[in-house]
Amino acid sequence: MHIHNKNQTPGQHQKRTLLYLLLILLLLFIISLFVGRYKISFVEIINTIKNLLLRNDIQSSNDWLVFFHIRLPRIILVMFVGSVLSITGATYQSVFRNPLASPSILGVSAGSAFGVALAILINEESLFDTYLLSFLLGLVAVLFTFFISVWSKVKGVTVLVLAGMAVTSFFNACVSLVQYLADPYEKLPNIVFWLMGSFNRAGWREVYISLFTMLPGIIILLILRWYLNVMSMGEEEALSMGINVRRMRILLIIVSTVMVAPTVAVAGQVSWIGLITPHIARYIIGANHRYMLPATCILGSVLLLIMDNIARTITPAEIPISIVTAFIGAPFFVYLLLRRRESGWNQ
């Protein structure tokens, strides 16, 4: 907060950092549009945009088609998914008071993954089935987790997390069963590749889905971010500061779940981002969610964009994004653990 005396304006330093992060994201967004196996001419794109603006007749070149129908939606989608996984990771970490919490904690990811696997097994062509099943089963998984914790005689956050582990394990077994039953030459590779995570299916339709399912959630979490500070102090303290903890926790979990399920449908299981981004954000900007949550949101986009650029350029054929996120995320997390004092979490 950097207040040396009571007349100084709080948060100036953090606001400046947020601005820098936004500029980095903007720069990376532009660079990413021109990174890839297919080389796009910068001049060609600028000319087409100029023609579009001047309402001249447009000759759709290959460069423009790749730019507008493949690369642009993909990059927007990557930014959405990176933001959603990171912001929900930070929310879960605060709500469950556990710095190791991530979007997969309540079984959402596993449930949605089962939905995707099932949809591919039943009818590979129907993208609608894929989204619907992934969304529904993500919600079913969370409901399971909820009811187990409600029925349990022991109350508290730990039961919810443990129930989440059990549900995750159950739905992972369901995914394995589907893989076992799937045709090993056609469907099995599709299921495996989808679940490993990839943005190669990204188009404008996926972007619109994200716009309706993820953007409202991001806005709601940003509006509620001050409460995450208070919630992270523990249930009784939050109650004593006037927060209806039970209601707020349910609201935050529902909003997060509704956001995470479609990320699995559009991009598969993208690991690590949701766990490490909040830690990096705390390291850069401090623990106060007022600044940390927007920073997490921007940083999630930045990190996933970098990783997706690597995934689609490092080899002639694209490699699944989860391999890249794990290769970078896991060692980075170890680094954070070793420098725990500075990483902004304490236990």
Binding site: K6, E236, S240, M241, G242, G344
Partner: protein
């Protein structure tokens, strides 16, 4: 005034943790809850701010039945100072203090610059404004406790509840903290605190409530109830009281 009328609470169906507790908390009073471990002090305090719902009995805050108040409304009357602890994330001291304004924020709003200036003055009250930008988790136990009280002051309530605030503090800090609580009650705040050390209660508190096995066994003005006989019954131990340089000292033989 907060009045507690015949409240009982149980964590299970087997036995009541507290039974028929009644007392009042008046403006500007510093009250100590004394009693052995497991006597029900914490449970009473948790019922007082609505964290636990009593099985029977009523609690009135300024003539409002607590049952009819939301958590937000209760938080404008009563603030709670927990035992000093570590926060899960490394917040700055000034952010921790600013959290006290939460009950007054409308939905989705955040503390303003003015709120942060108020938070700073709360640190000044305890002369710890130099800690404003420090990481809360790296403070000493005594400093953390003062920061948590500053947060309660930020909450701007007439009543403060504290559960054994001195338990993690060293000898000197225990006395400093009690002096600060006395100062708060002299400034019109009502403070109720569970205490382990009867000497601190004897020296600083106006009124004493002695709790044993979930029941109030003695209650009244400090000078009237703090005697070896009552303390002996309270703690089941041979308690004596002596004067050293005009200060009464309680000890176990």
């Amino acid at each position: 005034m907060i009045s507690i009328k015949n409240i009982s609470f149980s964590y299970d169906t087997v036995r009541d943790t507290i039974k028929n507790i009644s007392f009042t908390l008046n403006k500007g009073e510093l009250i100590a809850l004394l009693g052995p471990n497991g006597s029900g002090k914490t449970t009473i305090l948790k019922c007082l701010n609505g964290t636990l719902k009593p099985k029977t009995g009523e609690i009135y805050i300024e003539n409002h039945n607590i049952k009819n108040l939301s958590y937000k409304e209760i938080a404008k009357f009563i603030s709670v100072v927990p035992q000093e602890h570590s926060a899960i994330f490394s917040y700055l001291v000034i952010d921790i203090v600013a959290m006290g304004i939460t009950p007054y924020l409308s939905f989705g709003r955040m503390p303003t610059k003015k709120d942060y200036r108020t938070a700073y003055t709360k640190l000044e009250f305890f002369n710890i404004q130099h800690l404003a930008e420090k990481n809360y988790n790296q403070l000493s136990g005594g400093e953390k406790q003062l920061v948590l009280i500053a947060r309660a002051l930020m909450q701007n309530t007439d009543y403060l509840i504290m559960d054994e605030p001195t338990s993690h503090l060293d000898f000197k800090n225990q006395h400093l903290l009690m002096k600060e609580l006395k100062k708060l009650s002299e400034n019109g705040k009502s403070v109720i605190t569970a205490l382990h050390d009867p000497n601190l209660a004897l020296r600083f508190c106006d009124r004493i409530i002695m709790v044993k096995n979930g029941e109030v066994i003695f209650s009244g003005e400090n000078t009237k109830v703090m005697n070896p006989q009552n303390l002996q019954i309270l703690y089941d131990a041979p308690v004596s009281m002596n004067k050293v340089e005009d200060v009464s000292i309680i000890y176990i033989n």
